[in-house]
Amino acid sequence: MNWKMWSLKKSVWVFHVNCGACNNCDIEIVNLLTPKFDVERFGIKLVGSPRHADALLVTGVGTKQAARRLQEVYRQTAKPCVVFCMGACACGTGIFEGAYHVAGPVDEVVKEVDPNAIIAYVPGCPPKPEAMISGVVKALAAI
């Protein structure tokens, strides 16, 4: 493991990208920061700019209007980074499959810019906060 990957796994700073979600996953993500779950204990912090982030938490189907913006955010993120697809929509467009304004799923949108992107999936509608924490831990253990 090179030192970049080693350092990536300590105190992961995340940037939250909503690209057409119903707000559910998003609220559960914010929930992670509040007293009951409090992931800041582990150094996980929501940051205001993708340039500061080690990981992107992507929610939503990836609408056609949002897809290009998501790619732009991915380009701006410091590499190496991990893309987390949070929720059923981000993992595989879920219930919105086939709708006319959907460009997703998110992994395909991201892979258009970087075929070697590290992508992790946390399914659920919405995934429980516990599932999100567990997903992040598993992904970090795997890379």
Binding site: T63, K64, Q65, Y100, H101
Partner: protein
């Protein structure tokens, strides 16, 4: 406004209507041609002080329908103005945005997804379809299949 008064006042616009339907106690549909829609909405909004709820654009088989839903909150009654646009090739109807600013977005939306043109709309720009959406394709029309 109590229910009886609403019924009585609605009779004032009767000559502009094709018909009145009552599907349930507190659901009234006023059927009209596209030309009369502005004056009827004006009557409902200004005279009767009904609250504008939303509009629905419908692709019926031979025509387009624009439904302006109003709510008479004092008696819990939903009054819907159903206007028929018979010209399928170039659907056009008068905008009610100059009257009700709250209708701006929904008319832009119907313009986007059904291709109905709203006359006198102050700002009929694209609202909800993405920037590269092809001109002349209206996703909510029946000929567009998912």
């Amino acid at each position: 406004m109590i229910r009886e008064e609403l019924d009585r006042r609605l009779a004032e616009v009767e000559e502009k209507l094709i018909g009145i339907e009552r599907t349930r106690d507190n659901r009234i549909y006023l059927l009209c041609d596209a030309e009369n829609v502005y004056s009827i909405c004006q009557f409902l909004f200004d005279e009767l002080a009904l609250r504008f709820v939303i509009s629905s654009g419908v692709d019926a088989e031979h025509c387009f329908e624009v439904l302006h839903h109003f709510s008479a909150d004092a008696c819990g009654c939903v009054v819907t103005v159903k206007a028929f646009i018979r010209d399928r090739a170039a659907p056009e109807i008068e905008s009610i945005t100059p009257l009700i600013p709250g209708a701006e977005w929904i008319e832009r939306e119907m313009h986007d997804i059904l291709g109905i043109h709203f006359k006198n709309h102050p700002n009929l720009q694209r609202l909800i379809l993405h920037d590269d959406w092809p001109q002349g394709v209206y996703p909510l029309r029946k000929e567009v299949q998912l």
